[in-house]
Amino acid sequence: MKIEEFKTLLELKLPGIAFKQVRDSLLVENPSDLPKVAFFLKNSDLEIDYLSSVTGSDYLDYLESVYHLYSTTKKTGLITLRVRVKRDAPNVPSLVPIYRSAEFQEREAYDMYGIIYEGHPDLRRLFMWEGFEGFPMRKDYIQEDSEWLEPEDLEWLEKHQVPVTEEMKERAKTPRIIKKDAGE
């Protein structure tokens, strides 16, 4: 099914929910409508029963949660849904009650992008450890020690004919800043 046809079908069946076409996908304008859309897709005769992938992405102005769906009974797909949320209030309703496969993937998206999936039974970090601060896949995330140089590093650089500036030497002299929660 083409995306335009699919959009008109959804608008007909689900009045009151605003959709917008973004490339080959449908943007659900209001994130709180997402469970309704997913429930309709799964239980209508479209039989979109398989949520293949859930992921977040960061577009600086907003965060996005992207869903890729297929049907295993009708062998159709791919249908892509997306919702956009503000960076400072990234709340998206969870799809775990409808599609179990979202369980780990929503945890992963929360871990990496900080998107809060409301209604998820167990929303914890998946890969990073407990107490880790920040969301490493966001575009504004700064790695803790990316600027840090050791005296050995300078030796190595000089040995390999890389120009070492005064500023780099200064940096190597200053002790490493230890974050509050690291170690002690």
Partner: protein
């Protein structure tokens, strides 16, 4: 009188549970995977998978480098089937940038993908038997066969496991002389190995007793939980991406999709054996029709081979998937027109197949949890990204 006695006795028993960690340094968790298990006696009451010990933020690494440079990193996702990972990533970028693949390259790709399937399935069956307690004899038989195929990979790509062989629009280099004969030889001899393997295992009483009716996965739950690959098909759901998406040239080959009936550990084991036979069928057909001449990489991509930072796919996004031996391996790539992807995401089958691990294990003994995990077939490089 008897009744009250029984109730009295029960009230004396303090229903204590015991919480233990299996892993991350446990040989039967297939790597640095941890299962946080709550036990009542020896029966599992709850099981929480804990992962991330091998996390290196694969997605971030890929977003910080050019499209071609992350090809070798996809090898390290599931280090048992690097060729399949390459295949998935190449397909996605080809979809994104609209690149055609020449005929000969398609044949090479299919042959590599199916050889990888053989490698993975023999190894996973060997390890499953390891978990069952048949220590190292089956796995060494399996590895003997795997080694023959890895030798072919070494001849073709220069590396046994980290092949890095696929390129957008084709493959890295042409097949060296004589390799086709080696592949034909391996394909010819493989069925006799499978028969030998099966004669030792399939009707073995201990294997049947331990595997049948253990870890039964219902088809409805399997679909809802996004389970893919041999695990889904063992539950009786006919869903194989090679047939459905018809990606590459799989349409040309005649092969069947083996399905299980119950969805227990035994079905998962046997579906893999049958899948290997089907893979051999595909290999035979592909080797028969293999084109003798032709390009191995699309003309559109040849200018970028030397300076791949010049390769900038148009603004857009693509999601493509392949039937990797463990399930559906999907890649989601968003391009903003620069040489680096804006967003790169891997839908890792090993990770998502673990979603239902708790449901499968509850009510079984600890020893059964080990073989259920073995039958799920995980590789921690892929689980932990």
């Amino acid at each position: 009188m008897e009744k009250t006695f029984a109730v009295k006795n029960l009230s004396l028993v303090d229903n204590q549970t015991l919480e233990i960690n299996i892993g991350p340094q446990h040989p039967s968790t297939h790597g640095v995977f941890r299962m946080n298990v709550v036990l009542d006696g020896e029966t599992i009451v709850s099981l929480k998978p804990v992962m991330g010990y091998l996390h290196r933020n694969h997605e971030q690494i890929a977003e910080n480098m050019s499209y071609t440079s992350s090809m070798p990193y996809t090898d390290r996702l599931d280090y048992f089937n690097s060729m399949s990972n390459n295949f998935g990533y190449a397909l996605t970028v080809e979809k994104l940038a609209n690149i055609d693949v020449p005929e000969k390259a398609e044949y090479i790709r299919v042959i590599m993908a199916e050889l990888t399937r053989l490698v993975n399935h023999v190894a996973v069956i060997g390890f499953l038997l390891n978990d069952l307690g048949a220590f190292f004899t089956p796995v060494l038989y399996a590895f003997r066969e795997r080694e023959k195929i890895l030798d072919i990979f070494e001849d073709i790509s220069g590396a046994r496991m980290m092949c890095n062989y696929f390129r957008f629009g084709g493959v890295k280099r042409d097949l060296p002389a004589g390799v086709l004969d080696t592949i034909k030889d391996v394909v010819k001899k493989f069925p006799s190995f499978l028969e030998e393997f099966e004669a030792l295992l399939t009707k073995n009483e201990i294997l049947c007793m331990r595997c049948q009716n253990v870890g039964v996965l219902k088809p409805e739950l399997a679909i809802s939980a996004g389970i893919t690959g041999p695990m889904l098909r063992a539950s009786g759901v006919n869903y194989d991406i090679r047939k459905i998406d018809n990606y590459s040239i799989y349409k040309r080959f005649d092969f069947k999709i083996p399905l299980g009936q119950k969805g227990d550990v035994f079905d998962r084991y046997y579906v893999r054996i049958l899948e290997m036979r089907e893979s051999l069928k595909i290999l035979e057909q592909a080797l028969k029709d293999f084109p003798t001449s032709g390009d191995i990489i699309s003309k559109k991509m040849t200018p970028y081979l030397k300076n791949f930072r010049n390769f900038k796919p148009p603004v857009g996004e693509a999601y493509a998937r392949v039937e990797c031996p463990k399930g559906e391996l999907g890649f989601y790539v968003v391009s903003d027109g620069t040489p680096q992807p804006w967003r790169y995401h891997v839908r890792a089958p090993s990770l998502i197949n673990l979603t239902i691990l708790e449901d499968l294990c509850i009510g079984h003994k600890v020893a059964d949890a080990i073989i259920i995990l073995g039958s799920v077939d995980i590789v921690l490089g892929e689980v932990d990204h």
